[in-house]
Amino acid sequence: MRVWLPLCGVLAAVALVASVLSFGLGRDPTAIRSPLVGRAAPDFALRTLDGRRTLRLADLRGQVVIVNFWASWCTACRVEHPALAAAWQRFRDAGVVLVGIDFQDTRADALAYLAGSGTTWPAVEDPGSRTALAYGVYGIPETFFIGPDGRVAAKHTGPVSYDQIVAEVGRLLPRAAG
């Protein structure tokens, strides 16, 4: 008894620590779960960077909306730009809207980037990062997929690939990706 009791205690403690470590080490440290997934996407009404119009999320109800947070100074955003451009070309007439929200940037730098990269999807500015804060943005690029029902279906942190966009759009709008 005298030996077994502490031994069992030590073994239980080791098993507990090992299980916690195996659970923690088995997870992807870059994957940040968003509490917004499954909930109504925070609404926004933001001016396009060219100042021509205001884009309201509420007006896009019924379509799949891909909200991409980016900036001209963001290297990873340049990496994912071709994927976004290809997806935009494929889905722009299929009930999918891509919105780029400029994050902590200057308007001049952002406009120069848009012109240089040939971006044709709507890009808006986010004064005071109010929309970024409402979406719980940690670091860009971050991409949110919003379903036709206005709920956030998925969040992607880091550069998103073309295949990932197609897969998410396919889940939300099967006829568009078919």
Binding site: S34, P35, L36, G128, L133
Partner: protein, 196 residues
């Protein structure tokens, strides 16, 4: 002053009571709007920093969070509403202190439970030691000679009835008493030899 245990217990109770009262009272209430913003920001984790509060972080996003808090306070929102909005966007990891419910409750209760468990273990050990002080005697026991009336030791040779002392502290105490008697006899013999 003959019972240091009582005084120690009273001192521990007084310390625990003081700490509890301070914890329940919490920090002084914020008076100015800037104080209110700081109080809320100090409880939020800067999302783009390593272990810095929104109040302490120089990051632009933290500054924008402070502006958001100030604007929301001016709009008449309560501090818990403002915190809830950040939690809705970022999850509970945005809070520097875990919530007092769900899994977060473990972080609040674990120190108190561990302290209580430690006290129970310490008190049990002290009580056991006081009841049988020889249990802590590191002197190895020696074989008990047959017929000395002493209890069999853990090293009793075969033939003493086959009984072996149990591993209890009481058993260890009896062995030591037998040793003490042996030692006293040996000392008496030495004295007799010296006299003779």
């Amino acid at each position: 002053m003959r019972r240091p245990g009582i005084w120690l217990g009273l001192a521990l109770l007084a310390a625990a009571g003081t700490l509890g009262a301070v914890a329940l009272r919490g920090p002084a209430p914020a008076r100015t709007p800037a104080d209110q913003v700081h109080a809320i920001a100090a409880g939020l984790r800067c999302p783009v920093c390593n272990d810095l509060s929104v109040a302490d972080s120089p990051a632009p996003l933290a500054a924008q969070m402070r502006e958001t808090i100030a604007r929301d306070l001016r709009a008449g929102k309560r501090p818990d509403q403002i915190r809830a909005e950040f939690v809705a966007a970022y999850g509970e990891s945005i809070l520097l202190a875990p919530p007092g419910r769900g899994v977060g409750l473990v972080a609040w209760l674990a120190p108190a439970l561990l302290l209580a468990a430690g006290l129970v273990v310490a008190l049990t050990a002290v009580r056991r030691w006081r009841a049988h002080p020889a249990a802590a005697d590191p002197t190895p026991s020696t074989p008990s000679p047959a017929g000395d009336g002493g209890a069999p030791s853990t090293r009793s040779p075969a033939g003493d009835g086959g009984a072996r002392a149990g591993p209890s502290a009481a058993g260890a105490g009896r062995v030591s008493a037998a040793n003490r008697r042996l030692l006293e006899r040996a000392l008496e013999r030495l004295d007799e030899e010296e006299r003779s």
